[in-house]
Symmetry: C2
């Protein structure tokens, strides 16, 4: 059987599990998740052995240290993953919630009720913890799942999904609800993203290249978890100390995340007070500054920003700085270079706060806070399967409710039209 | 300038109008819609002349009568279209609604607020009324719109969109918010559905071929308004008269619509009472019956159903009939051949009603009512841009709220992470 045919068979098997899975009570789903968590600890030896093999192959291939660290599993990390499954179990069940309804003049009642999406395809890279996280979120939301992980973690991912599938089925999960595509063959991805009618949604998680490939080639609906070119605009009226603290935090606290700031926009009327403090603080932290002519007046060692710099998601300690003549210029800049992820204004001016939040088209628009808060856990969702930068279905951090759709139940006593 | 470049320019112009459009008050939007409605009547002469040209070209091309009828505009039909715009104006404004929110332990407030999607691409065929309907719904929901209609109605569509754009701009609509792609060149569609970053969503309306082409080739998110292979299952416990009335209505009242029934599934224990009445009623109405062996026992003139018949959306007075041994067999059949649109059970059995509604995965699942009610107007939404058969973002009839997304507004006083 070829790769395409294998993936199709797996999707069919998952689809078969889908109805029963959608009808599971929350009690059973929680029992399944707790059993999975326990199994990760019981089967720790097998999992760590498989991971050691991935680590060995990674080192042989000359994988970078930061990649190796993402790949590495330890008993402590496994315990954290197991704990994550238990926490997901304790979140509110998103399925069965009645979100709307009405009785029509003809007596028909219409009830809009949340139901699972069906079969979710997850395409991801590197971190083997995603295998367990994605399985946990999909099962809790009543969805079957088909996983295609990166080849560098294939042994770890395979064992984890096997362990969770077996433990889940013992606890009452329909057989076949978890499918792991056990091949490094890239054509498996092409097969998965064109299974219309079987796969209900594909969620890619990983590099911009992976996500763009999936968006471009998938005929199945995709939830894009895209890049974050996030901005902070320091208004003329900003509290300078607050602005420095926010712009520092947004860049430095964890620069590799998509909610980290890439570009700082500073109103010309506050630049003289703000820039020396900000630049000193950035330099202390080893931040490399790239700037427009206006900002380079404050430090002639700042590299000149090229056009491409403004659209770059650095993911490290680089930051772009630009002096703007007005808030509208800042809004225009964000409109041009932002990716619709998270944008912030620091201001003490009521009208500007309101105007900025209304005019900026992004998943999260902040006043006087760091963009770093855009996160399912920080937002209080209790879980996160990714951060959507598209506008359809889900926008911003996606928790359990974003893994559901709804259906209309219409009850009558013989109504015809 | 080539077609691709022209479409891109138009999308850019619409994108430019987008911010101002999103910020329009409902009062202004309503003023715009009423002005558009008036303009349709004032410019009736121009519109009917353009339509006469389309009709002439259609007749010359040998277009079928039913197509010509869909293409035709009259003063009465124009008045109805204008009235539709006025009705949309009177619907609740979907923009600005606060749908969720919370205050985090650190004092940050998070407000989830509905906002327009941005720029919506509508690709449609034949009926020129879609031009005005789509423009009305998009403007009321604060979206810019780019329209690509069928070549057979291009003259009517062009004049209607021009008239509405001019009237709208006079009443306060941002310039460029309505874009009509004025070419019969099919590559314009390819250009439109790959404008990621400019076009936020594409909604195809028309034949299955058009919709599948868009789903397959679009890199922009699509809302699929797909086929309806709808079923009615007559349970052993059904009230026979009610079952006959519902199955008759579902097939005959308007067979060309996607919510019309294509297949009737009958429990074996009620078949003897039900089938003679049903078949007689269908025959009276000229319905052509295609059946399995079980149903052919009741009339040997029934054509035998082939495998492909069960998956066919006839759109006319053909109906498939099958006798099933159990409700579970009916559910299995619907699962295999249904398109997730509308499915119905006729039953007096409480447990079966509950089981059917839980187990069937479709946008609308009926107990004791005709599938023909799946419609934005019937559901009380006051408008409809189409009926989604996909699960992401919108499912079932789509009204104004489905043309919005949301953003999170986060307000703080210096919070960092």
């Amino acid at each position: 059987m070829g790769v395409q045919e294998t993936v199709r068979e797996q999707a069919l098997e998952a689809k078969y599990a889908e109805i029963d899975l959608a009808l599971l009570s929350d009690q059973i789903k929680n029992k399944i998740l707790f059993a999975m968590a326990d199994a990760l600890i019981i089967e720790q030896g097998r999992i760590l052995n498989a991971n050691a093999l991935d680590m060995k192959l990674g080192r042989e291939k000359g994988m970078r240290g930061s990649f190796l660290d993402r790949l590495l599993l330890t008993d402590v990390r496994l315990e954290a993953i197991a704990d994550g499954l238990r926490k997901v179990a304790q979140l509110p069940n998103p399925v069965g919630q009645i979100v709307d309804g009405r009785t029509l003049p003809n007596g028909l009642t219409i009830t809009k009720v949340k139901v699972p999406l069906g079969l979710i395809g997850i395409i991801y890279e590197a971190r083997p913890n995603v295998t367990a996280d994605a399985i946990g979120l999909c099962i809790k939301s009543g969805n079957a799942v088909i996983l295609k992980g990166g080849s560098e973690a294939i042994n770890s991912n395979k064992v984890i999904s096997d362990v969770l599938a077996v433990a889940g089925e013992h606890a009452g999960m329909p057989k076949g609800a978890i499918q792991f595509i056990n091949t490094a063959d890239r054509t498996a991805v092409d097969a998965l993203i064109t299974l219309n009618g079987l796969v209900d949604v594909v969620i890619p998680r990983g590099s911009a290249g992976l996500i763009q490939m999936v968006v471009k080639n998938s005929t199945v609906p995709v939830i894009e978890t895209g890049a974050g070119v996030c901005h902070t605009y320091v208004d003329f009226s900003a509290n300078v100390d607050m602005a420095v603290a926010i712009a520092f935090n947004a860049k430095v606290s964890r620069p590799s995340t998509c909610n980290a700031m890439e570009t700082l926009l500073v109103h010309k009327d506050i630049a003289e007070k703000f820039m020396p403090l900000m630049l000193a603080k950035y330099k202390q932290a080893g931040v490399i500054i790239i700037g427009d002519d206006g900002s380079r007046k404050y430090d002639d060692k700042i590299d000149a920003a090229t056009e491409s710099a403004w659209g770059t998601e650095y993911g490290d300690l680089h930051v772009n700085v630009k002096i703007v003549n007005s808030m509208e210029e800042a809004i225009e800049h964000i409109r041009k270079y932002g990716t619709g992820h998270s944008e912030a204004i620091v201001t003490e001016n009521y009208a500007n706060a309101r105007r900025f939040q209304a005019a900026i088209d992004a998943a999260a628009v902040y006043v006087n806070a760091s963009t770093r808060f855009t996160d399912g856990f920080e937002f209080g969702f209790g879980a996160e399967i990714g951060i959507s930068t598209q506008k359809l279905h889900a926008r911003g951090p996606m928790g359990l409710p974003e893994l559901t759709t709804f259906k209309y139940l219409i009850n009558g006593n013989g109504q015809i039209r």
